[in-house]
Symmetry: C2
Subunit: 240 residues, 2 copies
Amino acid sequence: MSAQTSRRERLRQATLEEIHAAARKLLVEQGSAAVTINAVARQVGMSGPALYHYYAGHDELVGAVTADFFRELAAVMERARDARAGAPTGERLLAVCRAMRAWSVAHPAEFGWIFASTISPPNRGAASARHQAALRFEQVLLDLTAELWRNRPFPVPDLAALPASQREQLTAYSAAIDGRLPPEAAHVFLACWIRLYGLLCMEVLHQLDFAYTDMEPVFEECLRDLATALGIDDTQGAAS
Amino acid sequence: MSAQTSRRERLRQATLEEIHAAARKLLVEQGSAAVTINAVARQVGMSGPALYHYYAGHDELVGAVTADFFRELAAVMERARDARAGAPTGERLLAVCRAMRAWSVAHPAEFGWIFASTISPPNRGAASARHQAALRFEQVLLDLTAELWRNRPFPVPDLAALPASQREQLTAYSAAIDGRLPPEAAHVFLACWIRLYGLLCMEVLHQLDFAYTDMEPVFEECLRDLATALGIDDTQGAAS
DNA sequence: ATGTTTCCTTAATGGCTCTAAGCAAACCTA
DNA sequence: TAGGTTTGCTTAGAGCCATTAAGGAAACAT
């Protein structure tokens, strides 16, 4: 294993990229069921079982491609954050949320894989690429929220007033994120996360078509709620 | 076609029930992918293509079973509503929400089919059993909310202050439900619906496992928010 | 120059969806 | 009650899929 990437290694990486691109193309153009080992291999120009030199099976291929999507989404969010490097934290957080929605709406099939997939065993482990990518994704929002908390703590509930079960879970989660948010603040963070993510899922999976087809105003409304909960004074107008 | 159910018809119904039960058993015990035409037929005791006498294909079978789940969920909610026939509307509404969660958590695989499924073309039509069942399901919450609105109108936003797109959509939806809620009230109803359904999806699809494993307190918290939004004074304590 | 590793191939097994062809029992009707 | 028709099933088969096995040829390492 040389430190410098060998020719072989470069070729292999190129092939992997080609495989991922083929899988994504099939997903977007023909839906989830069309992403089969055989179809992907055909698209790439090799036949069938050759793909097993790159992935142990269908589930692993799907996991790798899903991790790609996660990374792409995280990258889009990070870019939105970094594009406003000097701006107030709250403004950056809202921009990140909007970037998240923009990507999700523009890539519904990909978002569907990220969210609606039952996570198959090979991708369940904490070491899996899928999980790593999910962490990075979570991190973007967590970082900004922690920054917000440090700069100007937002209102939090009284920890003692919460049910014991919830208190314990929040304490454990606070520890898991190295105490960057105390349990009470983690409570608010998770509540925001739930509303944001939940709304996006409803939109992308078309659960609200019976009433809403254009969800943009609903999303902005949700964002205003979150801004209030996080003590972001929305002096800059919400983009529309 | 006799008005009285013929012997043939009774047998056919019994077979249909057996098929549905077999499909559900496979779903619950071995997951979504195990529900194949062949496996279901094997379970029922007939072999393969016989099932095509009952359903035109895999999608239609899935749609029929999913509609069953929808109906079962709706029935559970209706029962919760009717068990408190004399009680205040708000209390009944909360009971219905809790019943909805109880069923969903107790039947995650079934809920997954209801929610997380991309709705396949044969089940997309407004006349499909799936859609009918979804309507009945929506109805339970809508009825109670409309009753609430008639008895003691809850606070609503100013329609004129909403974006034009949203205003139009709410007006159309209000008309679609025969004006039982005016557009402003429909706005509040839909906001509640989104939070409730969204949270449930996150829970059942395990999107929050990284922080919460016991979501019961989170759900009760959400319910308190909804009660506030709907002007339900929660004098009776929330069951815990 | 030789042995090893890597990448790919074809062959084959067994499962899946779905169509086609056909048999037998149940039903209606005359 | 004898006739044809409808219904419920069967097996056969085409074409897809995932996955394993066996082997060939090129690239690489020494």
